[in-house]
């Protein structure tokens, strides 16, 4: 190979290298673009509704009945309260169970047992929400109907149990990591001062891992708010203001899933569902940012 062609081939390699750099850089930017695009599209489709209908009645209206023959009602409150019921109900189950399992996982399991639990978590987290919803219909619904004496068990309790199942893997795995990150010296110091292992966990490890544990709860909230199929399938979907956990609920997510299939594209009803989507997007975004802020302070 003469000098000239050698130079050329080095030149070519350099061009390819700088091209590659640009492509990778672009794909990084593309990620940001996706999030921005999602938000812009939700805005674009939601704005016609807000213009047409006004914001106040949407945020403070206590009735959701867009197909009413008398007067169409677009109040998000019943849907929002339903989402709140499911979120709180699921956390009442998933926080104690999740934290308990995380403590067991991080502090009381070793080697094979630890690996087995990790495997169980992975499998549980991979189960599609439609399958969990199916279990809500076939197992939990009839069970709840029997113990409460109602004619079916499609209510907020059912949805909360199912959503708790969906959020448990998130809460457990992140809390476990937080507990495992607590330096061993600190725990040992507590033990050498005469405390029992349990005391060391409660008084030293958990306070140390507090931020990670809180972040896991926040992510659990985010998942609970956004969970769709399980609640569509197992909560009965009555679009009324729920009064107790034994009432049927219709969450914001469920409402979109149920009604979007039936509305004419471009109608006011269509745009109203995007408005709900926008609210959902913003709520989960804020929850995620909070959880990131909590974790960031650790490092």
């Amino acid at each position: 190979m003469n000098l000239e062609s050698k130079k050329k081939s080095i030149e070519k390699v350099k061009i390819i290298d700088s091209f590659a750099r640009k492509v990778f850089m672009f794909s990084g930017i593309f990620v940001i673009l996706i999030l921005v695009l999602i938000m812009l599209f939700l805005l674009k489709e939601a704005i016609p509704f807000f213009k047409d209908h006004g914001i106040l009645e949407f945020f403070f209206g206590t009735q959701w009945d867009p197909t009413s023959a008398v007067e169409e009602k677009y109040g998000i409150i019943p849907l929002f309260i339903s989402t709140l019921f499911i979120t709180i109900g699921s956390l009442i189950i998933s926080i104690p169970v999740g934290l308990g399992a995380a403590i067991f996982f991080a502090e009381y399991s070793k080697g094979k047992t630890s690996e087995f639990i990790r495997y169980i978590m992975e499998v549980l987290s991979s189960i599609p929400s439609v399958v969990i919803g199916f279990i809500g219909i076939t197992l939990i619904g009839p069970f709840l109907a029997e113990i409460t004496g109602s004619n079916n068990g499609f209510n907020a309790v059912n949805g909360s149990i199912l959503v708790a199942l969906m959020t448990l893997p998130t809460i457990i795995s992140i809390s476990t990591d937080a507990l495992k990150d607590v330096p061993k010296d600190i725990k040992d110091a507590s033990l050498s001062l005469g405390s029992t292992k349990w005391e060391a966990i409660i008084k030293v490890a958990i306070p140390q891992a507090k931020r990670g544990i809180l972040a896991s709860f926040m992510l659990g909230v985010g998942r609970a708010v956004g969970e769709t199929m399980t609640v569509v399938m197992a909560t009965g979907n009555a679009p009324a203001l729920p009064k107790s956990f034994l009432d049927s609920v219709r969450t914001m997510t469920a409402n979109i899933a149920i009604e979007m299939g039936e509305v004419p594209i471009g109608s006011k009803h269509y745009h109203s569902l995007f408005a709900i989507g926008l609210i959902l997007f913003l709520i989960t975004l804020v929850i995620n940012l909070i959880s990131q802020k909590i974790t960031k302070r650790i490092s």
Partner: protein
């Protein structure tokens, strides 16, 4: 003194019991789910169940179109998400400097992972189905699912690349290779299995999602398989949803709903198991780190 020790021991016992109980609740739930679906679903599983169309208003017959549809839409999502996910992962691990822009990208990935799947469905409807005119189709649903799983692939790629020791990079650069040559010939081959875990997990996720495909292409019933990427499709998770909530004779189609659920759960179970053991093997015998 002695009394307080006894009290401490009792509290410790109660504590251990409670955390064991929590773990047991989680494991038992999983066992109950699997047991219920397997015990009630296995009887409808046969060769014909996989190879025939639903018959008599879906009260009989198999789930061939749902399986094929899920396969198509999952492949479509992977074609879109795998290259982009890997490239963004490479960018974050190999090119990105520690600055505000990188922090923003990382935060965005976490936020994307937290966007509810039904919102992805709305976005897919607005942009791909109506905006770009792809209609309700394999393509629209595929890209929507692709967007949903991109964070999984990016994170797996970034982590796998970070596990490759710097000595590999230094050796390659020292031999005169460019950065791109180093990535292509050295880093990607050693990070391959780790990236593969991410791809497998993302496929399992895409195969099981329902909400994003509700309005982007999934159909209640079709009497033929999708012939192009612009056709609607049947999908296994959507099939389970319709059979258990929308169908006029819900009790009559219940066995088929169980069978479909069993098939779906086996698919995601196998995928997540493969990913798990691949990662376990990497951690044990990866050599690097």
């Amino acid at each position: 003194m002695k009394k307080s020790t006894i009290k401490k021991n009792i509290i410790e016992k109660i504590g251990i019991t409670l955390v064991s109980l929590s773990t047991l609740i989680v494991i038992t739930s999983l066992v109950i789910i699997f047991f219920d679906i397997i015990s009630k679903g296995y009887s409808v599983i046969s060769f014909d169940f996989f190879t025939t169309f639903p018959k008599k208003n879906m009260t009989e017959g198999g789930i061939l179109p749902a399986i094929v549809g899920t396969f198509y839409v999952t492949i479509a999502s992977a074609i879109f998400s795998v290259p982009f996910g890997i490239m963004a992962g490479i960018y974050l691990s190999e090119y990105a400097k520690t600055n505000k822009f990188t922090t923003l990208i990382k935060a965005t990935i976490k936020n994307l992972a937290g966007v509810p799947s039904i919102v992805y469905g709305l976005f897919g409807l607005g942009l791909f189905v109506t905006g770009l005119g792809f209609g309700e189709s394999v393509l629209s649903a595929g890209i929507t699912l692709g967007l949903l799983v991109i964070p999984v692939i990016i994170t797996a790629t970034e982590e796998a690349l970070k596990r490759v020791p710097d000595s590999y990079r230094d050796a390659s650069i020292g031999l005169g290779a460019t950065k791109w040559q180093t990535i292509k010939k050295v880093l990607l081959p050693s990070a391959g299995p780790g990236i593969m875990t991410g791809i497998i997990l993302s496929i399992g996720r895409a195969a099981g999602e329902t909400a994003p495909i509700l309005f982007t292409g999934a159909a209640f019933y079709l009497n033929s398989l999708p012939g192009s990427i612009f056709d609607k499709f049947m999908a296994l998770p959507y099939h389970i949803f319709t059979l258990s909530t929308q169908h006029a004779q819900i009790s009559k189609v219940r066995p088929i709903a169980y069978g479909s659920t069993l098939v779906l759960i086996i698919i995601v179970f196998l995928l997540s198991s493969i990913a798990f053991f691949l990662r376990l093997k990497l951690r044990r015998f990866g050599g690097n780190k």
